[in-house]
Amino acid sequence: MRRARLVAAAALLWLSLQLALLAWWATVIGRQARQIAALEALSGAGHAATAAQWSRTRLMLVGESSTFLALLLAVSLLLAWLYWREHRRARSMQAFFASVTHELRTPLTSMRLQAEAIAEGDQRAELARRLLEDSHRLEAQIDKTLELARIEGGGPLAEQAIPLHLWFARSLEGIAAAHGERLDLRAHIDASLPPVLADAGALQMILRNLVENSVRHARITPVGVRLTATVRDRYLVLEYQDNGAGVQDRSAHLGRLFARGAGSSGAGVGLYLVRRLMQRMRGRVLFNVAPGEGFRCELWFRVAA
């Protein structure tokens, strides 16, 4: 509230200053025009010549004043836009730190509770399993944060031709292992499909984020995820579908930085990274969500020539 009042006061001050400058400018030009007319009258110039001089002076006055006003307006708009951009950036940073802190604190709480139980003599393997799960979650959050910083900083991607059926054969198990029995992940990729142009690290990050999203929001255990692929035009479309609860609302906001569904946990970074990484590889992602029908999206990769 105090900030809004300060901004309003600054805008008012700026506007008053502009109007005062404008009035001063108009006064100076007007006075000058009158002086020119008086000097011409004294030097004996005819009525027609004085009228022509006055007309030129008036044109100059209007032209210069308009230019001056336009410049002031442009500078004002530029300043307002810069302020708005900085304000939005500051709000985003604030939201980012709040959500990332939340995402780090939660597994830390769990790990501390388990570590304390172990320190007091509880030797159950279940505690070790939970510790591992939480450490995976922490690791994923740190990876996402680092990747976000890299992508936003314009970090390069190394695109290469990747045959998806081979890539999945090697990577699927590793992606699924982080979620244990909470995930049933299967890919059906035809070996005859052409390779795609993609960065292997980005591909890994995209799949990991999508899977983490499903496990977190599906509200069933295990959540089933199926991946299929088809070729459309010069793109290979990888379809991702889970059998969870789907997205309850704000589907239009999916993939926007720090956008989170109502009441959902998460930092709002995972799906944003999916969208940005697909854009950086000159592909795209289409989120297709309907409540109760699971989470579905299409990843459009360029086909390697």
């Binding site: 604190r105 939660t106 830390l108 709480t109 769990s110 388990q114 304390e116 939970r130």
Partner: protein, 237 residues
Amino acid sequence: MNGPARLLVVEDERNVAETLIERLRASGFQVTRADSAASARRAIAEAQFQLALLDVGLPDGNGFELARVLRELAPATAIIFLTAHASAEDRIRGLELGADDYVAKPFHFRELLLRIQNCLKRAQDLAQVPGEMRGQVRIGRALVDFERFSATLDGESRALTHKECAVLRLLAERAGKAVSRDEILDRAWSADEFPTSRTVDNFIVRLRKLIEFDAADPRVIRSIRGVGYLLTEITRE
């Protein structure tokens, strides 16, 4: 209190909830878990709890809304917010909604246990209403029922938080006599909440809005310079 205290743990993070509940059970509590606001509402409707541990961020709502429901349906239940949202604004909002305490994640279990025990002790003290304070008592413009943790204002009933009840009861028990700020702090706040005398002053301002006919010219709760506060009017109805 007869038997183990019944606790409700509202937490959607599975690992946190499971480990916490195991440890609370091992500490002698009877614990019920809810993983969403909806299941918490069902649990509150079905059973009486001495204390609820509420996570702020839930998949279908938030702990603040749940605290409001709890205050209406089960005013005797003590509330502790358990949350990773540790900002001052969240903490103030939680305490204003009637939470008895606010614990930021990550926490030490022993610390949480201590806070639970303190809250239960205070809730138990509040539940034992002395004979002269039973039924409805008029304090200023409010008709206060200490047993039901409620106040009726202009025919409209509203739930009182545990702190409001504790402070009002202390002042009412000593009506006509000055009560020091330290005594008020001892009765309603735990030492680990880091309260100051200013905390009491701010709290009294809120209480005055509730019970005074004109909060700008308080006549029911009077400030006694250098000592504390004095309740002037109390009538049994």
